[in-house]
Symmetry: C2
């Protein structure tokens, strides 16, 4: 079986590495001549919306998936008309627009922060009255890693926040005074079988994920599973789905979802019985899903902008390096490491050791 | 860094899959146009002793290793003169000839079965007097998976056993009445750092490994570590080394060693903190070696000659499939699965489930 992937970045790379052992081959469509997945399958080099390349991808792959959610709707439809595409275009359409996404959460009784659409400075000035301050102004589309977002603390910030959007449609979100950020990752195959990973507890800095820690047995696991189940059913979802949530005194508030394998699930490679990457493949090929139970205690630490020396990292016991084969660039995720331990104290010590190395090279 | 591998079979494939996450690239030299590692790096297609291809391999790879021990001595020397080659030619020379190997074991006080060289039927008739019966006649070179071996139960078997060798130099080995077969796998890097994996307990049938089970805390671990340490030091060994041993009432008798990653260590992918494949790479690149502690209880089951349906295997909880991308053929190893469990009872149940599937397709 050959799996086609739109995009050949680090997520595609890790999907391919997980797919070879179960006998899969890969073909990628990506504009870059020197992508992260470059050595792990065939490549079609060109624009994501090039109909000639898309037709080739559809013809040569048994099933097509993608590593990012900003796939243009017409591309997803073009492919869907020609081959199996998972997740389906509907999940993309919802995930691509924060306003639609929030309305969708609400329509299936998943709580969100208070929000209001903003299409002008006047809208923004009006919106802060019901939403309150502080609040966050976010562009409806194309935001990731904190890009396209402004924190508004006082009415003095309004004009600058609006200007920063350069006229893009936006949404004002009330600031959620969360205790912690968590995410749940689940997989659903074509037959509707569903598995859930233990919650990830996530630490962001500057809008970028820094550390994700597996939390098997978390008291909010059942609630998170209920929400993501509802989301997957409503979207008729196939593949791995990630739902980011705020824990507010034991209540969960949905932030956003990602219709793909997710950075906060990278610990599953070493820390779960079956990785999110393998389960994404099993799901889209309608194979039985693999067990998701935790394997010891695990955390993942991102390397942003630069890399420590391999020697320094590999000398840390139980550290596992995952390089993306990407040239370092300011603010760019270039690698992550996972650490695995038998006790929480050991795990914390390992996170601290690896984070120190990460901070030394972090330029973000 | 680019690693060159002589051979592009399943061992090279698994080495490459372990190497990508730590940032390595691969180039293989293999006669086959459609090898197991075909999609995982550059290929030089041709004979292992083609000087033009060997020169290319040496030039393009930062370090060269191999996935089989029957590398001709002149090939290893040719490469050694041009680039770094690990393990060094000496280990190959010893491993390639059973007589030299046994003499080497004895020279460093590692016990072996009683043995005698056999170069004629008269030699064989003479050898059974001190060695006794039953005994096993083995060709000195090129034997693997029970090939080139004859069990001699009575003097009636002598002529047929000798004829089967077609004149090849041989060794008669006394039959060792072992309680079980075990192996120890260790890695030693260029700087001399050494790590040992927990013992594998191995079940063979028809001379082919069927099941290998990790045995952390085995009472014979220390003795096995002492033997393999001595072997690695005597060979000035760099890379992963496997030593097969018979357990005879708590004494360990060396059977043979393999200067490479080994089938009995395939469980380390899921069952050890760092796999034998990654540690082989770390060793030859002189990186710090990864922790080798067991991750839960694990076993590996080989698929010989044929494959079960993916669906049947993947439906077994905690089963991990490793396909080699090889056409099924009688007696050929085409895949293995590992199973991982928290208790020995669970592990035994999983081994039994997977073995049933393996036996259904096994034609050996």
């Amino acid at each position: 079986m050959k799996v086609g992937i739109l995009g050949a970045g680090q997520l595609a790379r890790m999907i391919a590495l997980a797919g070879y052992p179960i006998g899969l081959e890969f073909i990628f469509l990506d504009p870059s001549e020197d992508s992260c997945a470059n050595r792990l399958g065939e490549h079609l080099h060109g624009a994501y919306n090039d109909p000639r390349l898309l037709a080739q991808l559809a013809e040569r792959a048994d099933v097509v998936t993608y590593e990012f959610e900003n796939v243009p709707a017409e591309v997803a439809e073009f492919l869907s008309a020609r081959t199996q595409v998972h997740p389906a275009p509907k999940a993309l359409a919802v995930a691509q627009d924060r306003l639609i996404e929030k309305a969708f959460f609400r329509s299936i009784d998943i709580p969100t922060a208070p929000y209001a659409p903003v299409n002008s400075l006047a809208d923004l000035e009006a919106a802060i009255i019901p939403i309150g301050l502080p609040a966050i102004l976010k562009s409806c589309t194309m935001g990731y890693d904190g890009k396209g977002q402004s924190l508004i603390r006082s009415t003095d910030d309004l004009a600058a926040a609006w200007d920063a959007l350069a006229g893009a449609p936006a949404v004002l979100e009330g600031f959620v005074p969360f205790n912690r950020e968590v995410s749940i990752i689940a997989a659903r195959n074509v037959s509707g079988e569903v598995v859930f990973y233990p919650l990830s507890e996530n630490v962001h800095r500057g809008g970028i994920l820094r550390v994700a820690t597996s939390r098997e047995g978390d008291p909010l696991q059942a609630k998170a599973e209920a929400y993501i189940s509802r989301l997957m059913e409503a979207l008729e979802y196939v593949g791995v789905l990630a739902l980011e949530l705020f824990d507010v005194d034991g209540d969960l508030i949905a932030n956003e979802f990602a219709p793909r394998v997710h950075n906060s699930g990278h610990w599953t490679t070493e820390g779960a019985e079956t990785s999110q990457f393998e389960n994404h493949l099993r799901a889209i090929l309608n194979l039985p899903l693999g067990a998701t139970s935790a394997v010891n205690k695990t955390a993942m630490i991102n390397f942003i902008g630069g890399l420590p020396k391999d020697e320094a990292l590999l000398a840390i016991p139980n550290a596992h390096l995952h390089l993306y084969d990407k040239a370092p660039r300011k603010g760019r995720k270039v690698a992550h490491a996972t650490v695995r331990a038998n006790t929480s104290a050991e795990l914390e010590a390992l996170i601290s050791q690896v984070s120190t190395l990460a901070d030394q090279v972090d330029d973000s």
